[in-house]
């Protein structure tokens, strides 16, 4: 067979293998997963390592965003924030407002795991956004 033709056939062959590989279902990998593959093992370790790093970065980003929100709300002042709620709601939230007033930027770490307070901060932010949006 002519050389250029063999090249063409092999290119088509690898094209076909590419197409078949693209359609290969996860269930068809069961056998292959048993075979050792140092290239994959090395990169899989790298993936896991970077996933761990990514999770830590996400946590840090969440914390920084919370801190930023908290500082912005503090600057706005307690009186203005309380005005966002109806008197009845304000009474229900009195403890949370007190906590908000007492907290400083340095205490942010301790509120990171306080779900009730995090929801409160985010509701303050939502109310503010609603109010601004209604203007």
């Amino acid at each position: 067979m002519e050389v250029n033709n063999t090249l063409k056939v092999l290119k088509k062959f690898y094209g076909l293998l590419m197409e078949m590989n693209y359609h290969k279902e996860p269930a068809d990998f069961v056998e292959e997963l048993e075979e050792e593959n140092p290239f994959i093992s090395m990169h899989l370790r790298n993936v896991i390592l970077h996933r761990t790093k990514a999770k830590a970065i996400l946590k840090k980003k969440k914390y920084l965003a919370l801190k930023e929100q908290f500082i912005a709300l503090k600057e706005l002042g307690l009186d203005k924030l309380q005005e966002l709620f109806a008197p009845k709601e304000r009474i229900e939230m009195v403890k949370l407002f007190r906590k908000f007033e007492e907290l400083t930027e340095k205490d942010i770490d301790s509120i990171n795991d306080d779900q009730d307070f995090l929801i409160f901060i985010s509701s303050l932010k939502d109310k503010l956004e609603d109010k601004d949006g209604a203007k």
Partner: protein, 217 residues
């Protein structure tokens, strides 16, 4: 990867990645590796995909680029694709970016293309990727030496098929020679595409075994 250098899709990709198990990652990586092996076949000796141009072996370069782009959020993981498909699309897109940059640089008679010069794209155009699998165009001229290697490889496969006396293998290889696609071949030999995939797996497994026994690659 640091907090300063994560990309715009870091959060949204991370949410999707939370659902991916270690086994799913391994399958995705294995699938992407195969794709790269086939895509780069006969393309790493000259031109854009050489170590000289990329600084690292092409397989390592594109593979690492694909999964790191998803992990650090510089590429968006689109809802339309699963993880293996997304990795494959990033690989193909990057290959095409590198090839374009290489050609451009070559035209300008530049000595070498620096990695940083490649345009950084954050999104993938949704295209019919399967139509690109059979693209015969080659990035580079092929040398006489390479052509001889290709011919040898072809002859080894051809010989393996005739010696195997396996009806399925003979028909499969005949169809490959005709340049048929997966669905064409399946229809021609009266099998489903899934059954054809099984024949291909058996074909490759036995071919590898045969080549190993004969001391070839």
């Amino acid at each position: 990867m640091t907090i300063e250098d994560v990309g715009p899709f870091f959060e949204s990709n991370s949410l999707k990645l939370d659902e991916i198990s270690k086994v799913e990652w391994e399958i995705a990586l294995r699938k992407a590796e195969k794709h790269l092996d086939y895509r780069l076949w006969n393309k790493t000796v000259f031109g854009a995909h050489t170590v000289e141009n990329l600084k690292v072996p092409a397989k390592e370069y594109y593979f690492n680029y694909a999964y790191m782009s998803i992990l650090n959020g510089s590429w968006e993981w689109k809802n339309d694709f699963d993880l293996p498909q997304q990795l494959i699309r990033i690989i193909d897109s990057r290959i095409s970016t590198v090839v374009k940059a290489y050609r451009k640089a070559k035209l300008k008679n530049e000595e070498r293309v620096q990695e940083g010069k490649y345009a950084f794209t954050n999104s993938i155009e949704i295209q019919d990727i399967e139509s690109t699998f059979y693209d015969l165009e080659s990035e580079e001229e092929i040398s006489e030496e390479e052509l001889l290697k290709v011919e040898e490889e072809y002859n080894r496969i051809d010989q393996f098929v005739s010696e195997s006396e396996d009806e399925d293998f003979i028909m499969f290889w005949d169809c490959v020679k005709e340049g048929y696609t997966r669905s064409d071949i399946a229809e021609l030999i009266g099998k489903t595409p899934k059954q054809l995939d099984k024949i291909k797996e058996k074909f490759l497994r036995q071919l590898r075994k045969e080549l190993k026994e004969n001391g070839s690659q």
